[in-house]
Amino acid sequence: MKFRLLPVVAAAALLAACSTASEDAGSKSATGNTAPTTAGKTAPAPGSVEEFKVVVGDRVLFGFDQYNLSAEGQAVLKNQAAWLNKYTKYAVVVEGHADERGTREYNLALGERRANAVKAFLGAQGVKADRLKVVSYGKERPECGDSTEACWAKNRRGVSVLQ
């Protein structure tokens, strides 16, 4: 994850927001939640990286060995696309990830499929192709290190990382 340089106060708020985002990545971002109620007193600045992460939702989740986008995932990506079409200074690297319950090489291919599913959806929503890159991490960069269904669900993800 890349953080932009921010004033100290804003950075503290960002840390609080981030921990919330990763804890609740499964439910909140997937349902396209709009208001970060637990993110602290100040809402993220419009057009900021943290707004994209916390308010819009930077990730979608996938089923086991799946790369199709759920209705919730599509809702998140519509919001991502609308935001990206508004704030055109950002490019996006879509990271595709898999859980640990597959073999390494297959999971690299699966992560690439997931990242491309996200890229294709954003593209269809009008985000220009030259702003979108993909990278697969397979099972190499889990969000969550435990061997539980809840963790694996969080790890099967496509994350849009702003550049």
């Binding site: 319950r101 090489e105 297959y106 699966l110 690439e112 491309n116 061997s147």
Partner: protein, 450 residues
């Protein structure tokens, strides 16, 4: 027994590593009473074999050279013991001292301690500063020399010559080529699962001479040896762009393989070393490509919207086994090496992955996922004879010892535990951990060193 001096194939060693050649010379048989009897032989195709008791006294030698003698015996003992086929006898039990290679073994003394085999050896300094290591392998009950060989080498090569001697003993007793004079390249892992640091590492098959080939600043995966064991192909996230690379172990020279528009991964050398076959993923589709290392030409081998990955050549280079989900879930497929005549070979329950063709050609090892567990198994190239060797929470990535009798892979326990390398006999017995300084995954076993 042969009286002539037989020159073994000159074993050329990597200049940067060893800096000399070792030639093995057969020793004339020592005079010994010959009794007609069945020869000592271990049938390694049987399931559980009772390890054969073997006595390996310290190699005898004068002064400075002598200090290697104990170490040489220790390395040979450890190699043979790890194979599960030999049971080295505690040195404290030995009755007879063997100060030279011409000392006649008193077979009754060795029978008393139940030895079936005896390795008699010496380490002798040469006028030019090199060492001469020589051994005789004795059949205690037959009272017969089974093998005798001498090697002249630089002192720093004592460990490698010890492995060569262990290979000779293994071969003489089992009838199969050994696998002790080999190395393993793998991925060393440190740190938590979410921030794992991965480094290429290389070591002898017994864990000695361990060192790192990369510094951990980029994720590195799936190293595999060239047939000469001088080069490695692997995948790296260098510059944030996951691609297949080629690394010369001795020179450290590294290069990107091919100019592909997408991620390249899952590389493997062809048996002649002239090609690397790999996957390239673009727009959500992974296909197999090969690259001619001389002409740098690449060709696409598969053309299917499914995931096609983990290719591995048959030892004659004519066929490729690979992993595809074109049938809906991960299964194993075989095609000819130009990409034609694709046929599915795995039909059991579960998902199949990481097929690797045995160097003998008779079997394909694979990873299988079924019922929430991972398995390492083997099947014939036509898909028959499927057999599981080991299972656990997570295990994958089998690699064959060059004799096709032993497999290595990695195991990982739940909750982000560090993975560990294990080896197992093709019979499914003798599973052993190979101790590494840190966590370890993605092992690749080298051919016998040239």
């Amino acid at each position: 027994m042969m009286k002539s001096v037989r020159q073994m194939s000159l074993r050329r060693m990597g200049a940067a590593l060893f800096g000399l050649a070792v030639a093995g010379v057969a020793l004339a048989a020592a005079v010994a009473p010959h009794t007609a009897r069945a020869e000592v032989k271990i049938d390694i195709t049987r399931g559980k074999v009772e390890p054969m008791p073997i006595a390996i006294p310290d190699f005898a030698g004068p002064g400075d050279a002598g200090r290697f003698g104990g170490d040489v015996a220790t390395v040979i003992s450890a190699d043979l013991e790890r194979s599960g086929l030999f049971a080295p006898i505690n040195k404290a039990a030995f009755i007879q001292d063997l100060p030279s290679l011409d000392t006649q073994p008193r077979f009754t003394d060795w029978r008393t301690i139940n030895a079936q085999l005896l390795v008699q050896g010496v380490v002798e300094p040469q006028p030019d500063g090199r060492l001469r290591l020589a051994f005789r392998l004795w059949d205690i009950y037959g009272g017969e020399q089974m093998k005798g060989q001498a090697y002249v080498t630089q002192p720093e090569n004592w460990r490698r010559v010890s492995h060569i001697i262990a290979d000779e003993i293994y071969k003489r007793v089992t009838g199969e080529d050994g696998y002790f004079d080999t190395r393993v390249v793998y991925v060393s892992e440190t740190g938590p699962a979410t921030k794992r640091v991965k480094r290429l590492a290389i070591m002898d098959q017994d864990g000695a001479n361990h060192h790192y080939l990369s510094d951990g600043s980029n994720i590195v995966l799936t190293p595999r040896f060239s047939p000469t064991a001088q080069e490695i192909t692997y995948m790296s996230y260098y510059n944030g762009s996951p691609r297949v690379y080629l690394l010369n172990i001795d020179t450290g020279r590294q290069e990107l393989l091919g100019d592909f528009p997408g991620m390249t991964f899952a590389p493997r050398f062809s048996p002649d070393g002239n090609k690397v076959v790999m996957s390239m993923a673009k727009d959500g589709n992974s296909e197999l490509y090969d690259m001619d290392l001389r002409t740098r030409r690449t060709s696409r081998l598969t053309n299917h919207p499914a995931i096609d990955t983990s290719p591995s050549y048959s030892p004659d280079g004519q066929q490729i086994v690979f992993n595809s989900d074109r049938g809906g879930a991960q299964q194993l497929y075989v095609m000819d090496s130009q990409g034609n005549n694709v046929r599915r070979i795995s039909f059991g329950d579960g998902r199949y992955a990481t097929p690797v063709w045995s160097p003998r050609g008779d079997l394909i090892a694979f990873t299988k996922m079924k019922g929430g567990e991972f398995y390492i198994g083997v099947m014939r190239p036509d898909g028959t004879g499927e057999r599981m060797l080991s299972n656990g929470f997570l295990m994958e990535g089998p690699t064959w010892a060059p004799n096709g009798r032993v497999l290595m892979y990695y195991r990982q326990e739940a909750n982000g535990a560090a993975p560990q390398l294990f080896s197992i006999d093709l019979t499914g017995f003798n599973e052993r951990r190979l101790v590494t300084p840190q966590g370890s995954s993605d092992p690749a076993w080298s051919p016998l060193l040239p």
